[in-house]
Amino acid sequence: MKFSVPIFDVKNLNFRVGDQEILKDISFQIFNGEYVAIIGPNGGGKTTLVRMLLGLSKPTSAEIRIYGKKLSRFKEWSKIGYVPQRASHVDANFPATVEDIVEMGRVSKRAFFSTLSKEDKAIVHDAMLTMDVVDLKDKMIGTLSGGQRQRVMIARALASKPEILILDEPNTGVDMASQKRFYSLLSKLNKEENITIVFITHDVGVIADDIGRLFTINQKATICNNPKEALSCEEMSELYGIEAHLIHNHKHEH
């Protein structure tokens, strides 16, 4: 894996608004097959960073490459499954069943026709099965609980058969019992389906054992190749203070 092209390659990302530095000098790479957690306090810039990786907002300066291509040139978006932070806040009246939503995952994949093929339907069903929402498929999205919606959103992302899944605070609004199940599901996706996972959270407590690397973001980014070490590290507490410290920044190797 050492010589493979990183999925994300970010160099010197800076974001300033007026004289406020929101993200400062951030560089990192994410490789195929990794399970990365990005943690940091609320307002630390995690969501902002991810939106920049996906071209949804513009940094002040940065060099961002996806699969080796410049962000502006990148076309294969269906390789990326993104579940934004506010994903589970849907309008209660939105006229979509769970199945309608998960089918959206096939939209950019299908040919120029309005109907989905048998194969598309099968993939949609599989994604719902994986996220355990098959029983809900005819329910209106607005009537589901937060945790159920979150699973539907991920099923939608999975339906596009992504190579990488980016989840921004997927654990909010999900009760503890289902969280455990959720984490084992994520590591299963990572190990068995070889889906690269980027898990963003403000909650240090949820960092699962399976996580390969940990990025901490609070204006600055620090990269830690051994998450267990990071959690026991005193400097971790300072992350939630004013400034982040460098814990580890080894070159990434497998």
């Binding site: 978006w77 979509a96 309608d100 959206m104 950019s108 026709f113």
Partner: protein
């Protein structure tokens, strides 16, 4: 009903009306879900500028309405994306601006008469064979585009950013949607009138949303409400000599209120 349909002008009016009901309700679903209902009012007033130009300069008012509505739609999108203005403010400015321009043109041209009245409130008497051709041609193209991209438009309505990061061409499709909406609004001003078309685009969908069903059933419900309102409204217009736009809108509002009451239980 049979007697009514023995008149050529009523056949034309029904044909035009039903086509417009289909177009307005299908495109209206996306407009409502994008929370962009106000654009229908603005584009209707821009179409009126086209009508004014057509009436005064002697061009086909319907064609001119299509052109002006399209120009306005593109201007709105341009202003919204390049100047990051509040979109409701942009719509509001363009609405009054268009109306002012239309009134000035019509007054200067001395065309402030009944024919303008029929473009404001709709008239079943005024649909010509030429209008039918225009409506059928533009209407077919618009509907085909909407159906072709309905899944994408639905995805964008649900979550624009997720759609974009899934590879959906959001900018292009937004542009397509406002263009199609502009054309449909311009086409409708014969039958429904520019002051009332917004209602036919928005209310059937809002009524259909009350039933809380999936996407396709919502579109079909909205479609049936729109067609029912047009048929009922035009019949009332025929028997009581009322402007068709007004009777159509009253029918659709009745359906909306009934839907609210039925679904509240």
């Amino acid at each position: 009903m049979i007697e009514m349909l023995s008149y050529d002008f009523m056949q034309r009016a029904f044909l035009a009306g039903i086509i417009i009901a289909i177009l307005a309700s299908v495109s209206g679903t996306f407009v409502v879900l994008r929370r962009y209902s106000m654009i229908t009012e603005t584009l209707a007033h821009s179409a009126l500028v086209g009508v004014a130009v057509g009436l005064v300069a002697g061009y086909n008012p319907l064609w001119m309405a299509v052109v002006l509505a399209l120009v306005a739609a593109w201007l709105i999108e341009y202003l919204r994306s390049y100047f990051s203005l509040y979109s409701d403010a942009v719509l509001s400015i363009l609405l009054s601006g268009s109306l002012a321009v239309a009134v000035v043109i019509v007054s200067l041209g001395g065309a402030f008469n009944n024919s303008l009245f029929s473009y404001l409130f709709g008239s079943i008497l005024s649909v010509s064979t030429e209008d039918i051709y225009t409506i059928v041609i533009f209407g077919t193209v618009s509907l085909a585009l909407l159906l072709l991209f309905s899944k994408e438009l639905f995805f964008i309505a649900y979550d624009e950013e997720v759609a974009q990061t899934s590879g959906v061409k959001v900018k292009l499709l937004n542009f397509l949607l406002v263009s199609v909406v502009a054309i449909i609004i311009a086409l409708s001003i014969r039958v429904v009138g520019s002051l009332l078309i917004g209602a036919l685009m928005v209310i059937p969908t809002v009524a259909a949303l009350q039933y809380r069903v999936g996407f396709l059933p919502t579109v079909l419900t909205s479609l049936s409400f729109a067609i029912a309102s047009v048929i009922l409204g035009m019949s009332l217009s025929f028997y009581f000599s009322l402007p068709s736009g007004a009777t159509i809108v009253l029918c659709v509002i009745t359906i909306f209120i009934a839907s609210l009451v039925i679904t509240k239980r």
